[in-house]
């Protein structure tokens, strides 16, 4: 792998973001709005629900975690879609970049994009609601890591679809996170779901991440098994996604998608 080439592709997106104030604003605006909205909702629930009575910040913390996942996944897809929209896709794939270098560069850029949105949102929660996501302690890092890996995994899966099917796959890119959100048990315990949905939810790392976030905040205890299971599932899904990306690239070369993708 060449760090220069990885840096080169990162620069392409860094220049794009830093050139446009609306793009920076867009990265910060939505997470902040989301957090503010959910902050007020969680304040309401805190005074009306015994479940959340002693943990005002549970919903808000979960909202921040979910937003990080959402931003990472959409961020990865956006980087790929930018190339299609700007008709630069062919230029990118005739450059001497290995698939692993393309993925690595987009993974790093997606993280930076997500953090640009996340950090102001975290800072906002403290003065507005007297809550700090940092209450999760050192385990916050593992929760973020798991969410980041899953977000990237979804991004790679959607990008595989874009490679294979072209821009017609774009709508799927936008809807993935909304489709998975109910199974992620982001704002409620898994028992809330019907039994058949619970089985699907248990196959996803999200449920372990959000269950554990709530467990830490409500019970002030840590179940490492949840964190471990989430990381294990994440590893499997990530490897599958990367394999699919390579496969899609190979099929795209056979079907000619790489040539016609901008049209």
């Amino acid at each position: 792998m060449s760090l220069i080439r990885i840096y080169g592709l990162f620069l392409r997106h860094f220049f794009l973001i830093t050139r446009s104030f609306p793009r920076i604003l867009d990265l910060i605006y939505w997470p902040s709005i989301q957090i503010t909205l959910w902050g007020f909702i969680s304040n309401f629930f805190a005074s009306h629900s015994s479940y959340y009575n002693n943990a005002v910040g549970v919903i808000l913390t979960c909202a921040i975690l979910y937003d990080f996942l959402f931003r990472t996944s959409i961020g990865f897809n956006m980087l790929f879609l930018e190339e299609i929209w700007s008709r630069n896709f062919t230029n990118l794939f005739i450059a001497p970049m290995k698939i692993s270098e393309i993925i690595t560069s987009l993974v790093i850029t997606a993280l930076i994009r997500a953090l640009i949105g996340l950090i102001p949102a975290i800072i906002l929660t403290s003065p507005l609601f007297g809550i700090s996501i940092l209450d999760l302690g050192i385990y916050l890092f593992f929760l973020f890591l798991s969410l980041y890996i899953f977000g990237i995994t979804l991004g790679i899966l959607v990008s595989s679809g874009l490679l294979r099917f072209g821009p017609s796959f774009e709508n799927i890119a936008w809807s993935t996170m909304f489709l998975l959100a109910p199974f992620g048990c982001i704002y409620y315990p898994i028992e809330t779901l019907p039994e058949i949905f619970q089985k699907i939810a248990y196959a996803l790392p999200l449920v372990y991440i959000f269950e554990e976030a709530r467990n830490i905040l409500i019970n002030s205890s840590v179940n490492l098994e949840n964190l471990y299971t989430a990381l294990k599932l994440n590893t499997v899904y990530l490897l599958l996604a990367i394999t699919l990306f390579y496969y899609s690239f190979s099929v795209a070369r056979k079907k000619g998608t790489l040539i016609n993708i901008g049209e």
Partner: protein
């Protein structure tokens, strides 16, 4: 002169449709080879396979002594491509685009290379301008700079002067002639502009329905088919029933 590019029995099928039907040709060092043919004749598919964007159904492409299917990344470092149908990121400045592609091609001294190309392609005043705000003639010169950023040994040009006014078109052709003379690179030129092909190419291939139906220098083809110019040869060959099918 050695053959820098060798294409052997190249085929590409999409299901039952055969886009390229077993073509073979060579491009020598320091040569511009014209690739002619009507729309849908297989030119872009051939170029796509040479760029590694398409996997051949059969046959092989050898560039600088190596097969592209086994050495895709290594070969991509030595070639580049320009086409009016692909663009550089519009929101970036010209300089930023050239820096990005300099990095992607691992160019050692990007600043020096950009300075050289800016001078040759008259980009000095454009470097800090937004790429999407340039005229098509300016964009074409910027794309050419991107295509030469890695000092390619083989340059693939797909209609490089399409939609340019005669003055800019002439500038690009003159530049290509001078650059080839200076750097001794090999060029494959796919074009519908027969005057351009006559001016730039010592040899040409005429494609139709996925096969090479004739080849030779523009003068040889004009003389062989008893026509006044290459455009008339093109029209004669493309309107004839294809005896190879």
């Amino acid at each position: 002169m050695q053959n820098l590019v060798e294409v052997k029995n190249l085929k590409k099928s999409y299901g039952l449709k055969e886009a390229v039907k077993g073509i073979s040709f060579k491009i020598k060092d320091d040569e511009i080879l014209g690739l002619l043919g009507p729309n849908g004749s297989g030119k872009t598919t051939t170029i796509g396979m040479m760029l590694g964007l398409l996997k051949p159904s059969n046959g092989e492409i050898i560039i600088d002594g190596k097969k592209i299917e086994d050495n895709r990344i290594e070969i991509l470092k030595k070639i580049n491509f320009i086409s009016p149908y692909i663009e550089l990121p519009k929101k970036l400045t010209v300089k930023q685009n050239l820096i990005v592609y300099g990095k992607l091609y691992s160019v050692s001294d990007i600043k020096k290379r950009i300075e050289y190309l800016s001078e040759k392609l008259r980009l000095g005043d454009l470097l800090n301008k937004i790429t999407g705000e340039l005229s098509s003639g300016q964009k074409n010169r910027v794309s050419l700079a991107k295509a030469l950023i890695n000092k390619p040994k083989v340059l693939l040009l797909d209609e490089p002067t399409a939609s340019l006014d005669p003055e800019i078109g002439d500038f690009v052709r003159t530049f290509l002639e001078d650059y080839k003379k200076e750097m001794k690179i090999s060029i494959l030129l796919a074009s519908h502009n027969m005057n351009e092909v006559t001016r730039l190419c010592k040899s040409t291939l005429m494609m139709k329905d996925g096969v090479i139906i004739d080849s030779g220098s523009p003068e040889e083809l004009i003389s062989k088919h008893g026509r006044q110019n290459l455009e008339e040869v093109f029209l004669k060959l493309t309107r004839e029933k294809n005896e190879f099918n």
